[in-house]
């Protein structure tokens, strides 16, 4: 159906998408996880109660979440250039993807940690655990299945965003779909990229569900 060159292109684009999403997920978790933890633990009555910090952080995160990705992508071009030296290509696309995912991750982490039974935290306090120990030994392990599901949602969302980033020169499957499928009227290539995206999303969701399920001891 396709000549080898097209296959190679598809193969390469799939790799780029996974690379973009993979790196962005890791970076976003790296920043978003601590933010989510701070968001929960600085709440009133929690282990690191600090209403002022909590309010500021919540506001910043909400602002971050309300900017549409397309606008964010364009708006932070100067920042992107500063960080990776260029504003086009796969590596450049990772910057807005990461920035967009951070507040998203923070909120998902917050939701996951809030599901942890307050009684368990109380028991840890009564035992004499420090806030740090409670975060590492109680909150995160207890919320792990939910955190993994949140990670899955983030990855799935970023696949969608990455296609958007591709459309403005970021490489990956979205880029391929636009250049070949749309601009050169190769509906078959367009279709194939969509199928690959569907398969990727399905696979990730299944993997995430499976992992979360295995971790849950409830």
């Amino acid at each position: 159906m396709f000549n080898p060159m097209i296959w190679r292109l598809i193969w390469q684009a799939t790799g780029e998408t996974l690379y973009m999403v993979g790196v962005a997920v890791v970076l976003a978790e790296l920043v978003g996880l601590p933010l989510g933890i701070i968001l929960v633990t600085t709440e009133r009555g929690h282990i690191l109660e600090s209403p002022a910090l909590n309010r500021v952080l919540a506001t910043v995160i909400n602002i971050g979440r309300s900017v549409p990705f397309i606008i964010l992508m364009v708006a932070i071009i100067p920042f992107t250039r500063k960080v990776v030296g260029t504003s086009i290509g796969t590596t450049a696309a990772m910057v807005p993807l990461t920035v967009a995912a951070i507040p998203f991750v923070a909120r998902l982490v917050e939701t996951a940690l809030k599901e942890v039974d307050g009684g368990v935290v109380e028991a840890a306090l009564a035992i004499g655990a420090s806030p740090f120990q409670i975060i590492w030994k109680v909150l995160i392990p207890e919320a792990l299945p939910s955190l993994v599901l949140g990670l899955t949602i983030t990855a799935v969302n970023l696949i969608g965003y990455s296609a958007m980033a591709g459309a403005v020169g970021g490489g990956g499957l979205g880029d391929l779909a636009v250049r070949y499928g749309y601009q050169r009227f190769r509906t078959d290539i367009m279709l194939l990229t969509v199928i690959i995206l569907i398969v990727l999303v399905q696979a990730m969701q299944m993997l995430g569900d499976w992992a979360a399920n295995r971790m849950s001891k409830k």
Binding site: A123, L125, A126, G128, A129, K217, K218
Partner: protein, 340 residues
């Protein structure tokens, strides 16, 4: 062991203020099982939570083993908490850890080496009878088993004091008895001081040495369990005791025996040793009276038998008086329910 002085805790919820504890003073002696009983909302949980500063009181001091808990900084407080065990109504186990992992948790917190931890955890699981459940997760356990894990976890760091907040309230009566037996066993073996909060009088009756009755954030009555049970002074204590050991004599019984001219109705309570004496036989030998037993039961308060008897004595009025006086001279509590 625990000394609470003039403790006051006020919760502020917007405009509304709740005086959950109002000038509470209390002393728990080393090695005893002390119970605090009160209805829902009386302030029981607030009181235990103020002991390890899970809740900060506005006024008053709490001394645990001589240490003023209200004066500690965060680091000192954590160290002090490691020496105070606590168990909860809903167990509060870590669902992501096995039974072993849960009991090992406090040892991890205090930094006990791995090998020593393993030894200690197995020892504790043996103590609570859960050796075979070491690798189970809390979700796979029954309520009673979960509380046993909670107890093992609370004892891990060899505390001097164990705080129990409604530790048996989520359990059925049989499991409650088993858990209480375990607590009593631990109290005897290790000399652990136990402060136990409950709204169930039978819990107090089964294990406590002394009890305090709390109502609207105030201790209204306290003393040895036997005393509070047999001679409650306040309305609140009477209300709590009623139905557990205090008997309500059926109305028809009183009615049926109300028209015999030469008889009286007595309620006789006997505690401990006197429960074993053949007092009624004695009575009939000494005085020309007939004894008709209408009602009788023996309860136990911790290990002390406590009996109640309702009898009808019939005979000449002089003999009845002498007999009643004789009974009163014995180690008995005699209450005349109906006179001649």
């Amino acid at each position: 062991m625990i000394e609470i002085r003039h403790l006051t805790k006020i919760y502020t919820d917007g405009q509304r203020e709740t005086r959950a504890l109002d000038d509470v003073s209390l002393k728990v002696e080393p090695g005893e099982i002390f119970g605090i009983i009160g209805l829902s909302g009386a302030g029981k949980s607030t009181l235990v939570r103020c002991i390890n500063m899970l809740e900060r009181p506005q006024e008053g001091t709490v001394l645990v083993n001589g240490i003023d808990m209200t004066a500690l900084d965060n680091r000192e407080l954590r160290a002090a908490r490691q020496r105070i065990g606590m168990i909860f109504q809903h167990f509060n186990l870590l669902s992501s850890r096995t039974v072993f992992g849960n009991v090992a948790f406090p040892l991890e917190i205090t930094g006990v080496p791995k090998g020593e931890t393993k030894e200690r955890v197995l020892e504790l699981l043996h103590l609570v009878g859960l050796e075979d459940k070491a690798s189970s997760y809390p979700a796979q356990l029954s309520g009673g088993q979960k509380q046993r894990v909670g107890i093992a976890r609370a004892l891990a760091n060899r505390p001097q004091v164990l705080l129990c907040d409604e530790a048996t309230s989520a359990l059925d009566p049989e499991t409650t008895t088993a858990v209480l037996d375990l607590l009593q066993d631990i109290n005897r073996k290790m000399g652990l001081t136990i402060l136990l909060i409950t709204h169930e009088m039978p819990v107090i009756q089964q294990v406590c040495d002394r009890v305090a009755v709390i109502e609207n954030g105030q201790i209204v009555e306290h003393g040895p369990v036997l005393e509070v049970f047999t001679a409650p002074k306040t309305g609140e204590a009477r209300r709590l005791v009623r139905g557990v050991i205090e008997i309500d004599i059926p109305e028809d019984l009183l009615q049926r025996h109300s028209n015999n001219g030469d008889s009286i109705l007595l309620k006789i309570s006997f505690i401990g040793a006197s429960a074993g004496k053949p007092i009624m036989a004695d009575l009939m030998q000494r005085y020309p009276v007939l004894v008709n037993i209408l009602f009788g039961r023996i309860d136990h308060i911790k290990d002390t038998p406590f009996g109640t008897l309702v009898v009808e004595l019939s005979g000449k009025s002089a003999a009845l008086n002498e007999a009643t006086e004789y009974l009163a001279r014995q180690d008995l509590q005699v209450e005349v329910l109906r006179d001649v």
